[in-house]
Amino acid sequence: GAGVSQSPSNKVTEKGKDVELRCDPISGHTALYWYRQSLGQGLEFLIYFQGNSAPDKSGLPSDRFSAERTGGSVSTLTIQRTQQEDSAVYLCASGRSQPDTQYFGPGTRLTVL
């Protein structure tokens, strides 16, 4: 079946602009995660959605970052007033409700000039 998809695959923006990154999880997966991976670094947790529960936003680095998940499916990560330090690969993953594997998308490479 289809895996997790993310769009765009690459995004180049100017400092100060807003960007939206999209994630389409695997159908039926109730859990959705966003991570950030800087060059040569590990994955940094950003936000976690589980079913209809309030999202766990504890990893968001600043109030410029926000995310939504509509209809329990598609999610959008929004970064307002982008800064150069926001440049990274943003990865989305989905999973089932039980402790289970996370299925990752290919990521969106964000470059802020």
Partner: protein, 112 residues
């Protein structure tokens, strides 16, 4: 949160040998731990999950151990092949159902 340590230096190994990777953590012991493989330009791919009450887990040429006393997991690739070259990440359950904290990963390079 946890501090997770994985070998930061790349592991260079000859084809056919066993590669052993280490994941050490501090603070609380997670209910489970996972290992993922990441190739350049791609998202991580799940390999194995081991629970706190399991000492060892195997899948084909892969073996994972979990020592909650030492706060350590070892990941072994036996009879390694050049196709095993990748970065391997360990990930620990963070106390919130399904939420993981990832290590920085160890790069493995298998030469023919």
């Amino acid at each position: 949160s946890q501090k997770i340590e994985q070998n930061s230096e790349a592991l260079n190994i000859q084809e056919g040998k066993t590669a052993t990777l280490t994941c050490n953590y501090t603070n609380y012991s997670p209910a489970y731990l996972q290992w993922y493989r990441q190739d350049p330009g791609r998202g991580p791919v799940f390999l194995l999950l081991i629970r706190e009450n399991e000492k060892e887990k195997r899948k084909e040429r892969l073996k994972v151990t979990f020592d909650t006393t030492l706060k350590q997991s070892l990941f072994h690739i036996t009879a390694s092949q050049p196709a095993d070259s990748a970065t391997y990440l360990c990930a620990l359950e963070m106390g919130s159902w399904g939420k993981l904290q990832f290590g920085a990963g160890t790069q493995v390079v298998v030469t023919p």
